[in-house]
Symmetry: C2
Subunit: 418 residues, 2 copies
């Protein structure tokens, strides 16, 4: 079965452009409503831990707590979300107050004496696990930085900046956070997630304050991200060799994560605000389109979670599932691409993604979105949050999509509050 | 829908006992055939890495290599399997030769200077990752011990014994292999997998040579395994508190892995050979039956992979899948229970498990078994091996089931070769 609109090169007509405009407006309005009436109220009502501080994210469909551990990367993400809502959406005291609850918790409990960020804490903040990846630290940094802006807390922003430089070192040398140094003879690789978080953090900093060193981090991350692009398949692969080695002999080197590829696509478009690059613009737009084409499940609809790009067996058990976040990222990426180019070819994707997403993920009865479906689109989990899903991808995509269509500009970072 | 034979307390009649006997004989014959004609030939043909040593386990449906990394726990498991086949099934030189290929590889490349066992190596044996769990070491120990018996290599067995005591320390104090010490105030817990591997390793040692210290390890592991038993639901839970804390507030404390619970059930029955315990026998039989009842998918058949015992959201994405190994373990456990008790109530389980297993997992066309199905029983992966599946659960269960029905005795460990 060939999904409609899979042909490249459809010429955008005037009526198509008009339809595109209408579709974008309708999408923006729907995102605004979903954000204000379903998603934000859910987290405000169920997630704030007034007893121990921070956020409860292990919430079932109705919002009851089934897991009270504090996952640091979800703590940081929720601080970021409430701070960003306060900074850029509505200056409601309850947003700032919600952000403070998390910021205080992670500043008090989140790091060890050497400054490493824990992965998991007990509800009351006692450490349970370290992480050998930098992502708990990344979202701690992002949360503290955005909260520093919201609260006008310069010291908090300084903490975030210092952590940014720690993370930059940890990504270059993962042995610093407990990983085994790669053997000298092993290929030098770049992980797409690392480049994405470096770009993301750097843009958050640059949106507030120019700094040539941070610009350099951004430029380097973009340069490495380009190495992930497969121009033949028009997707961003999870791993790229920094030394020209062919990685396709290993499942890791063949791993394609459609949602991730699309997400990095829109991050790359955001970097254009800081450093124009016509080739990069073309590449990012192609990567968004190519990732949707390669990742879309032509049999059952929706974006597959993980694929081996050569069709060999994926190692991950859950590769065939449909997760919420690739769909939120794709919706925003397509809206951004459509807005930037005005090209009617994005309309079928906007409709196809929208139809699938709105039909499968939002939970109008209890608020927020479901996170996990099987390949056929049946929910496999009814929870609203856990150790991976929290208050982040859904509100971020809804917010950015609503902002995009109202502001007319690509909003890569935030503006400091007046 | 209520599955047939779910009623407890069916009185076993004489004709039922006769049917049971026939079913067990048919099963043993089928296991023997499957082992000799499909499973062992597949691994002998595709897995032996004559170029770099050790085994290739990342094999697709036809046996072609899609991942050439060496996962240490699968290396150890395959050494064990070929050694055990040589020691107890057929004294074929090619088994000993295959075992030697892996034993030499793990002795040469498997451990660092401090004796820690790596998790993953490159094809040619260069280290890629450590593991903060003891399981790579466990199967290294089991493989070396069984190979030492097969080859008459006393030094190899001494290495295995020394590693056993390392592992025993690592399980008591996981900080030794890089885990964060649990906060002093956190509950003291036992992981079912830890007790299972301690029992398993101890029985392998005791089957060859009595040692009061090893007996004590076995007794302690059995005592802790008992704490995992939930007498109301008649299952073994993944975590147990050692200090009486109620763990049911956390998803980890509510985690029930039906295949694991059944597997530990048969391990507990094996311990009776070394230390008679009538209560334990009753508990283990109940746990096998209760786990099948709680873990069986009444809608689509098969054993679910993971469940929250209270029906709350599981954290694991793949909880609803059907994996090969819970079915191999359950088949053997039920055969063992039926053989030990002669009770006809096991017959419906033998049939139900057999029907599902033989219909879904074996691959008569290419040999070996598929490993992963979705909830409805459709294959989600076509590979024969990867980073978790290797040459172990299928041949072990087939071998033990065939042996059980021919020998009349529970074979808990191996006998040294003459």
């Amino acid at each position: 079965m060939k999904a409609p609109g899979m042909n490249r090169g459809d010429a955008p007509g005037a009526s198509q452009a008009k339809s595109l405009g209408r579709a974008l407006s309708a999408l923006a309005e729907r995102c605004r409503r979903e954000l204000d009436e379903s998603v934000v109220p859910f987290w405000l009502r169920h997630s704030l831990d007034r007893e121990c501080g921070g956020y409860l994210t292990g919430l079932d469909r109705q919002g009851a707590v089934y897991d009270d551990r504090k996952y640091m990367w979800l703590q940081g993400r929720e601080v970021w979300t409430f701070s960003r809502l306060y900074n850029q959406w509505q200056r409601r005291e309850e947003f700032l107050d919600a952000a403070r609850l998390g910021a205080d918790f992670i500043r008090k409990h989140g790091r060890d004496e050497q400054g490493r960020v824990y992965c998991t804490l007990t509800r009351d903040g006692r450490p349970l696990h370290y992480q050998r990846k930098p992502y708990a630290a990344v979202f701690t940094m992002m949360g503290l930085h955005e909260y520093g802006l919201a609260a006008g807390d310069a010291r908090c922003r300084e903490e975030a900046k210092a952590l940014f430089w720690d993370i930059e070192r940890w990504i270059s040398d993962p042995a610093l956070i407990g990983r085994l140094p790669r053997p000298a003879s092993a290929p030098k690789v770049s992980a797409l997630a690392d480049e994405m978080v470096l770009m993301s953090m750097a843009m958050e900093l640059l949106a507030v304050e120019d700094d040539p060193r941070v610009r350099q981090v951004l430029a380097d991350a973009v340069a490495r991200a380009k190495l992930h692009y497969d121009p033949e398949r028009r997707v961003l692969m999870e791993l790229a060799a920094l030394d020209g080695t062919d990685l396709r002999g290993s499942p890791d080197g063949r791993l394609f994560n459609p949602g991730h590829s699309v997400e990095v696509g829109w991050f790359l478009l955001h970097t254009l605000e800081f450093r124009p690059d016509e080739d990069l613009r073309r590449m990012a737009l192609e990567a968004i389109e190519g990732s949707l084409e390669a990742g879309w499940d032509r049999e059952f609809g929706g974006l597959l979670y993980l694929m081996d790009i050569e069709g060999r067996p994926p190692l991950q058990l859950e590769h065939f599932m449909k997760l919420w976040w690739p769909h939120t990222e794709a919706l925003y990426a397509v809206a951004l691409a459509a807005k930037l180019t005005g090209d009617g070819k994005w309309l079928p994707w906007l409709e196809r993604l929208g139809d699938y997403t709105w039909a499968h993920f939002p939970d109008p009865e209890c608020g927020e979105w479901l996170g996990y479906l099987d390949r056929q689109g049946r929910p496999t989990h009814t929870c609203k949050g856990g150790n991976y899903k929290g208050c982040f991808h859904v509100p971020r995509a809804l917010l950015m999509t609503a902002q995009l269509l109202s502001s007319g500009a690509v909003r890569a970072g935030c503006q400091p509050p007046p």
